[in-house]
Symmetry: C2
Subunit: 109 residues, 2 copies
DNA sequence: ATTGTATATTGCAATATTACGATAGAGTTT
DNA sequence: AAACTCTATCGTAATATTGCAATATACAAT
C-alpha cells in the first residue's frame, strides 16, 4: 500500500498530522524562517536564498499554502507570501496542551 | 530524485523538520494522544486501539522513538512506551517563538 | 520444554514525495 | 509589441513512506 488511512482517525488528528507533515521538510522550515526574518515577503528572494531550483520552491510554497501555514497575495507580478498566524497559534496550542497534560501525569518511564 | 537535501540546511532546521515529519501521520498523532490519555503505557493496548496491524504500529512506534518523541523501556515481556517531555517542550518553544516574532511584526498581507 | 503473549524485523507491493528541466502564464518595462 | 521578470504547472526520474503477511525474537506461564 502506501496510502495513509486518514479516514480511520479523527478530523483533529488528521488536521494536526497535515500541518506537521507540511513542516516535515527542512526546505519548508527554512522558507518559514525566512518569512519570519525578512519584513517584506516577496517570493523571488526565497529562490535566491535557498539552494533549490525555482520549481522546487514553488512546490514547497504550494504545500505550505495548502496546509494553511502561509497565505499569498498577488502584488504586481510578484507574490506576497506570509505566515498565517492562526495556524501557528493552532500548533502552539496543541503542543502547549500536551505539555500541560504531561505535567499533571507522573510519567511512568 | 526524491531525497531531501538535508545537508543544505542548518542542524536546527533539520532537527525541527525531523520532529515534524515524525508527527506528520495521523496514526502517530493518535499514538501520541493515546499515550497521553492512558496512565499506563504498555504498547499492547495500542494495537487494540488503532485500526492498524501490529507490524504497522510497531513501525510507527519506531519512527516516533527515532525522532525522540517517545521512549520505551522493557517491562517484562511488554514494552513501556511513553512521551519524552523534553522533545514536546522543544516543539512548544519553537512555535511559541515564532508566534512571538510574528506579533512584533506588522504582517504585510 | 512447550505453549502462549508481546513486540520487532523482513520482504514486498502500492503509493507519495522530492527535485528539476522544460514550458506556460501573467504582469512590467522598454 | 517585444523583451524581461516572476511564478506556476507538467512531466518524469529517483527515492521514501505506508501497510501488512510472514516470520523471528524474547519473555512468561504452564
Amino acid at each position: 500500500m502506501g496510502a495513509s488511512k486518514t479516514d480511520h482517525f479523527t478530523d483533529k488528528q488528521n488536521s494536526i498530522a497535515t500541518l506537521a507533515k507540511a513542516l516535515g521538510h527542512p526546505a519548508r522550515i527554512a522558507i518559514l524562517e525566512y518569512l519570519i526574518k525578512v519584513d517584506t515577503c516577496i517570493c523571488g528572494d526565497i529562490v535566491n536564498e535557498l539552494p533549490l531550483a525555482q520549481p522546487t520552491i514553488s512546490q514547497h510554497l504550494k504545500e505550505l499554502k495548502n496546509a494553511g501555514l502561509i497565505k499569498g497575495s498577488i502584488e504586481g507580478n510578484a507574490i506576497c507570501y506570509c505566515i498565517d498566524e492562526k495556524t501557528i497559534g493552532k500548533l502552539q496550542d496543541y503542543f502547549k496542551n500536551i505539555a500541560i497534560k504531561l505535567e499533571k501525569k507522573n510519567n511512568c518511564c
